[in-house]
Amino acid sequence: MDILIRQQACRIYTGGRNFDRNLPCVVLIHGAGHDHSVWNNQARHLAHQGFGVLAPDLPGHGSSQGTPLPSIDAMADWLLEMLDALGVAQASLVGHSMGSLIALAAAARATERVKALILVGSVAPMPVAPALIEAAASTPARAHAMINQWSYSPAAQLGASASPGTSLLDINLRLMERQAAGVLASDLRACNSWTEGLARAADIHCPTLLISGERDQMTPARAVKPLCAALVNAAGGARMITVAGAGHAMMAEAPDAVSDAIRGFLRT
C-alpha cells in the first residue's frame, strides 16, 4: 500500500494481506541501499500467521518518495511517525543491519510503544569500512560488489538459492542498483556515525532477540555479543539465535530459519 507521511508517498509492503491494525503489528525495517523486498518471505509468513505486517520502503528507497534521511535518529523519528499515520499504538520492531539500528533507536525512544525488538545482522556501533563508503559515493558498482562479497556465506555465493530458480547475488545487485544515486552512501554514513547504540541499549526494556548469521562477515556473530551484553534491561535478558551457515543476507539465504526465529520469539 501507499500512504502519505510528511506529504510524501510511502510504499509499505504488507506481506500479501491487507494491513489490519487490530492484529499484533510487526514492522520489518530494511537495511542500507535496500527496500522492503528483502523481507518478502518473512513478511508473507507473519502476515499469514496472524500479524499485521508493515515493511516500509524508507524515504528515498524503493518506491517511497523523498531523499534518504541523514541519520539513524531521523529514520527512527520517521518510523514512529509512520506508526502514528497508521494509527498503530504498539508494534514489534524487526530490523536488518541499518534497519536494526533504526529499530533500536526507535525502541529506546518510544519504550511504551515497542512490544518486542528483534535485531537481525546487528552490531552497535556499526562502523563501516571507509573504503566501502568511498566506493558507494564514487563508484557504486564497486561498492555493490564489495557488499555482495561480504553479505553472503561462501556456500550461498555459488548457490543453491533457497528460492528455486533465482540468483540471490544478482537480485541483491539489482536491488542496490535500483536505488537513486547517493542513497547507499548516505545510508552507510548514517550507520557509521550512529555511535550511541550501546548507550541506548540500556534504555530497552522490552523482550529483545538478536539473530545473527553463523557466516556473517559484515556483522560477525562475535561482534554481536557486546550489543547483547549492553541490553541489560531487556525483559528476561536479551536472547541470541545464530542461523547455521547463513551470511549477512540471512533473510534470503535462510528464509525459513529467520521467519521461524521471528515468529517463535513474537509468540512467546
Binding site: 500479501g16 548457490g159 543453491a160 530458480g165 533465482t166 537480485i171
Partner: protein
C-alpha cells in the same frame, strides 16, 4: 570473457546453483524425477501455497533439478533468475504472454529464426497480438514501429540465418525511451560470448536445445529476467503492477520490484500454460552447460577458420559471418561480441539452388538437418526447410537467397571440416562446369 561477478564464467558453468546434495553427498546434480513433494505437515503445506516459504510443490511449477539449471543460467547471464521451459519456443511464448494479452503489439527484427517468425506473423495474431517486423539495422524503423499498444521489442543477438548483429544498446535505448522492455534471443551466442543484460537488454531467452546443451540430445528453453526494468515507472504493464486475482491478489512489482516478471511468469505462465521442462532434459542440458565456455571458444575457433576459407574460395559468392572484416556488422561485432561471433555462418554458392543441393549432397561430416548448436557440424538449406513458409520477398528481406547454405560449425578437427567442405565445393565446381 571478462569477469563481472565474484566468479568467472567457467566456474559458474560448473558450480552455480548447486551444492552437493545433503543426504548422499552426490557431486553431480541429481535428477529429481518426481511430480510432487511431500509436505512435512499441514502448516508447511499452507505456507508453501501462500509463498510464505520457498520450496517445491509440483514439478510443473518448479523442480530441484530444473532449479539448478535456472539458477546457473541466471548467474551466467547476470540475471535475477530464470525459468526453464520445454523449448525455446515455449520461452518466447512465456515472455510474450507474461507481458501482454489481446490487443498487445510487438516490434520485432525481421531477421529471426523461422519458428519465431511463425509465432509472431501467423499464430499470435489469432490471439489478438500483432507484430511489426523491422530491419534490425534501421534504428528509425524500430522507433517508428512503436505504437501506444506496443509492449515488447524483440530481436536475436545474431539473426538466424542472415547473421546480422543486433545493436542491443541502440535498440534497448529506443525501447526504454518508450517505457518498453527489450527481449533478446541469445541462442546463437550463449552467455559465453555475450551477456545481453550488460548491453541494455531486459529479458533474455535461449533455445537451450542449441549451444547451451551442445550435445543435440535434449530440447529445452530458458527465459532469464535481468531485473533492471522498472515496470511501475513504465506504467504499461498491468499484469505486473496491478493485483492479480488469479494469484493471491498479488501485485508482482510491489511484491518484488526486481523479480516481478519472473514471479508472474512462473506463477501464472508455467502454472497455466504448463510448458515445463522435464527434469531429465534439465539434467542433460546441465551436462552440456558445464563445458559451455570451453566449447564456445572451440566453436568460434573452427568457425573463424572456415569463414576465412570459404570467403577466399572462387565458388563462393559471399559469406555472412560477422567475424569477417567484410561483414556489414563487423565493427559492431568487435564491440558487442569481442570473444567471437558464434558458430553459425551462411554463404551463397555460385550456381544457386542446384549448387546448394550438390554441395550438401557431397558432404560427409556435416549432417544435413534442421538444427544449430550441436557439437557436431550441421548444414541446411534454409529456403527449402526452416524458412519455407516465407515468401521470396520475405526471404530476401531476411537476407536469405535461394542458394544460401547455413553451417553450424561443430567441434571436429578443423582440418577434417575443411576437407569436407572442399569435397562439397568440388561437387559444385563439377556441376557448374557441366
Amino acid at each position: 570473457m571478462t569477469q563481472t561477478g565474484l566468479f568467472g564464467a567457467e566456474t559458474l558453468a560448473l558450480h552455480a546453483g548447486q551444492t552437493p546434495d545433503a543426504t548422499h553427498g552426490s557431486r553431480a546434480t541429481p535428477i529429481h524425477f518426481t511430480t510432487s513433494y511431500v509436505f512435512p505437515d499441514a502448516d508447511h503445506a499452507a505456507a508453501l501455497f501462500n509463498l510464505e516459504r520457498p520450496g517445491h510443490v509440483y514439478s510443473r511449477i518448479s523442480n530441484p533439478t530444473n532449479a539448478v539449471l535456472e539458477e546457473r543460467i541466471a548467474a551466467l547471464e547476470g540475471g535475477v533468475g530464470a525459468i526453464a521451459v520445454a523449448s525455446g519456443q515455449a520461452a518466447l511464448h512465456l515472455a510474450v504472454t507474461t507481458l501482454m494479452g489481446c490487443g498487445g503489439h510487438i516490434v520485432a527484427s525481421r531477421s529471426l529464426y523461422g519458428g519465431s517468425h511463425n509465432l509472431f506473423a501467423y499464430t499470435l495474431p489469432r490471439f489478438g497480438i500483432q507484430t511489426t517486423f523491422v530491419d534490425p539495422r534501421d534504428a528509425e524503423a524500430w522507433r517508428a514501429a512503436i505504437r501506444p499498444e506496443t509492449r515488447l521489442l524483440f530481436g536475436e543477438s545474431i539473426g538466424n540465418p542472415a547473421l546480422d548483429v543486433l545493436d542491443i544498446p541502440t535498440v534497448a535505448g529506443i525501447a526504454h525511451a518508450a517505457g518498453l522492455p527489450l527481449l533478446v534471443d541469445a541462442t546463437l551466442v550463449s552467455p559465453a560470448l555475450q551477456r545481453p543484460f550488460e548491453l541494455g537488454a531486459d529479458l533474455v531467452m535461449h533455445s537451450a536445445t542449441k549451444f547451451i546443451g551442445g550435445h543435440g540430445v535434449a530440447v529445452g528453453g530458458l527465459l532469464v529476467d535481468g531485473g533492471c526494468f522498472d515496470w511501475e515507472a513504465s506504467g504499461l504493464f498491468p499484469t505486473l503492477t496491478e493485483p492479480y486475482d488469479g494469484f493471491h491478489g498479488m501485485d508482482f512489482a510491489e511484491e518484488s520490484p526486481v523479480a516481478a516478471f519472473l514471479l508472474r511468469a512462473r506463477r501464472e505462465g508455467l502454472r497455466d500454460f504448463g510448458a515445463c521442462l522435464s527434469p531429465m532434459n534439465a539434467f542433460q542440458i546441465l551436462q552440456g552447460l558445464e563445458t559451455l565456455p570451453l566449447r564456445m571458444r572451440a566453436h568460434v575457433d573452427n568457425t573463424n577458420r572456415i569463414a576465412a576459407h570459404l570467403a577466399a574460395h572462387p565458388l563462393v559468392e559471399k559469406v555472412a559471418y560477422p567475424g569477417l572484416d567484410a561483414h556489414p556488422d563487423h565493427e559492431l561485432a568487435t564491440r558487442l561480441l569481442p570473444d567471437g561471433c558464434g558458430a553459425v555462418l551462411s554463404f551463397d554458392l555460385k550456381g544457386g539452388r542446384e549448387a546448394g543441393r550438390a554441395f550438401i549432397g557431397a558432404l560427409r561430416l556435416f549432417s544435413h538437418l534442421a538444427n544449430v548448436g550441436d557439437a557436431k557440424s550441421l548444414v541446411i538449406h534454409p529456403a527449402s526447410t526452416t524458412h519455407f513458409r516465407m515468401t521470396a520477398a520475405d526471404l530476401a528481406a531476411a537476407g536469405i537467397g535461394e542458394g544460401t547454405v547455413r553451417l553450424s560449425v561443430g567441434l571436429e578437427s578443423s582440418a577434417d571440416l575443411l576437407t569436407d567442405l572442399d569435397r562439397g565445393l568440388h561437387a559444385v565446381g563439377k556441376l557448374n562446369k557441366a
